[in-house]
């Protein structure tokens, strides 16, 4: 992304960036998705299979299931409060732990050449292990329940942030480090004004990966037997009752959640990596 594109509202009308941004207007951008849903709807209706209900029915079912509650509960039903909120809470806790730990450790590892040399093989190894494979370990160590699930999410999601933050901090411009030395910035000042902002684009690249891993691990940890609530639990529970409509509704909810969370993270990134910043 160019410096211009990061200005957000300040892109001059008629500029190349502006034209590129608006080349595909809002409605057109969504039209492919709408078309796909329409095809799905038509195909599902014509087949009439119980395994593949049409998307509108799924959406209505999802609405009845989770979003038709009283106004006082922001329209959330008991099912949503019992299953969706705990999932989101665990995911938020796991992701938050991963983000904070990943950024702090990443800065520490990235700023010290020795620490980086020593830790890099461990990091590459830890990152290479498929995260869901670790869940059984946590089940044994922590038993079923929220601590196990949060730990699984945090431990899996920490690596992308950590590795990317370390890379970003390591790539701090050496001339800028000389400037910091000449201005006699203290260690914390150098970290706050120089290293952290330099690493921010890489940190967010890591956070986006971690966010999607958090979602995956949230569902996966809830699929295991012994879970009592959550979106993953709703999935397995509905499947055992051959309630395919609820299975599809849960899948749709997960897709929307993933999209909304990623969009939110992108908005935070755009705010933090503000004007004047070149990629």
């Amino acid at each position: 992304m160019t410096a211009q594109a990061r200005f957000g509202r300040r892109i001059p009308r008629g500029s190349a960036t502006h034209r590129a941004r608006t080349a595909v207007p809002f409605l057109l951008r969504w039209s492919v998705l709408l078309l796909a849903v329409a095809c799905w709807e038509a195909a599902a209706r014509s087949q009439g299979s119980v395994y593949f209900p049409p998307p509108l029915r799924i959406a209505r079912h999802a609405h009845d299931l989770w979003f038709s509650g009283p106004v006082g509960h922001v329209f959330l039903t008991t099912a949503a409060v019992d299953n969706v909120l705990p999932s989101l809470g665990r995911m938020a806790a796991g992701f938050a732990i991963a983000a904070v730990a990943g950024i702090l450790l990443g800065l520490a590892v990235g700023r010290s050449r020795r620490a980086y040399a020593l830790c890099n093989p461990v990091l590459q190894f830890a990152r290479a292990v498929p995260p869901p494979a670790l869940v059984p370990v946590f089940v044994v160590v922590l038993d079923f329940g929220t601590p196990m699930q949060v730990a699984s999410i945090a431990f899996s999601a920490v690596w992308p942030v950590l590795v990317n933050t370390a890379e970003g901090a390591r790539a701090t411009d050496p001339l800028r480090l000389e400037v910091a030395a000449v201005l006699r910035l203290t260690g914390p000042e150098r970290l706050w004004f120089l290293v952290l902002p330099s690493a921010l684009p890489r940190i967010f690249a890591g956070l986006r990966l971690s966010l999607s891993l958090s979602l995956i691990l949230m569902v996966f940890s809830e699929l295991l037997p012994g879970t009592a609530d959550g979106i993953g639990f709703t999935l397995t529970d509905a499947q055992s009752r051959s309630d395919l409509l609820t299975v599809w509704a849960a899948l749709m909810l997960l897709g929307v959640l993933g999209y909304v969370l990623n969009t939110g993270l992108l908005a935070v990134e755009r705010r933090l990596i503000g004007p004047g910043r070149a990629a």
Binding site: V182, F193, L194, G276
Partner: protein, 250 residues
């Protein structure tokens, strides 16, 4: 007074500075000129305490340089990298004031005053990348001046600016020097520029192993002007002398 006594520095097998001897009295604007790659930047970084010398000593007012000395400021050539793009112009300039401890409002006021002084009006809240190259270098100069340095090092500060902007900034530098009497070491590869801004010009030989090969006092009037000064016979004679010394080393 800045004193370099037999300062030697190499990178691996590559000898860059070979027993440099140099004394800069207080308040002098010394131009250091030499062909590119002759170790001018290394010399400056060594004086700034960013690179230790292998041999020899550097003293400022009798105190040996170890680490970045107090009341020293540096202006680098690459303003785009030396300014922090995520901070506003004002925050960039106010950054070195933090350690002196005045409150935020006082720091901002001081930064804005110094910005006015280098000829920047109404850009305090902008970001560096929104300014032209010449303006960005003015911001870098403001940041260097804000702590009232007693020694200012400049590493080809105007090397990447267009001719007109460069002339304006040369005059700004002369004005600041005349007003503050700061000791300035000004590194450049431009012979005309070295004579125009300098009270004195030293010429470094080309590497490997740069030495001071010529030391020329500039006897031009203190009040200089881009058109008349550059037309003076004395100016032409000086630039010929310096130019010859630079070429001789080749």
């Amino acid at each position: 007074m800045l004193r370099l006594d037999s300062v030697t520095r190499s990178f691996g097998d590559h000898l860059v500075l070979d027993r440099i001897e140099l004394t800069v009295p207080d308040g002098q604007l010394l131009s250091v000129v030499g062909p590119s790659g002759c170790g001018k930047s290394t010399l400056l970084r060594t004086i700034a305490g960013l690179l230790p010398a292998d041999e020899g000593t550097i003293t400022i007012d009798g105190t040996p340089v170890a680490g970045v000395p107090d009341r020293l400021a540096v202006v680098f050539q690459d303003y785009g990298r030396s300014l922090l793009p995520w901070l506003t112009v004002r925050d960039n300039v106010a950054l070195p004031l933090r350690r002196r401890g005045p409150r935020r409002a006082a720091r901002h006021a001081e930064a804005e005053a110094i910005l006015e002084r280098v000829g920047l009006h109404g850009v305090a809240r902008r970001h560096p990348r929104q300014l032209s190259g010449g303006m960005q270098q003015r911001v870098a100069i403001a940041r260097a001046l804000v702590c009232r340095p007693s020694l200012l090092l400049m590493d080809e500060p105007f090397g990447s600016l267009d001719a007109r902007t460069r002339e304006d900034l040369e005059d700004l530098l002369l004005e600041v020097h005349r007003a503050d009497g700061t000791t300035i070491v000004f590194v450049t590869h431009d012979i005309d520029e070295s004579v125009y801004v300098g009270d004195r010009v030293v010429v470094l030989s080309p590497g490997p192993g740069s030495r001071v090969v010529q030391d020329v006092p500039v006897g031009l009037p203190g009040k200089r002007d881009q058109l008349t000064t550059r037309g003076l016979p004395a100016f032409v004679a000086l630039r010929t002398e310096v130019g010859r010394a630079v070429r001789q080393g080749d």
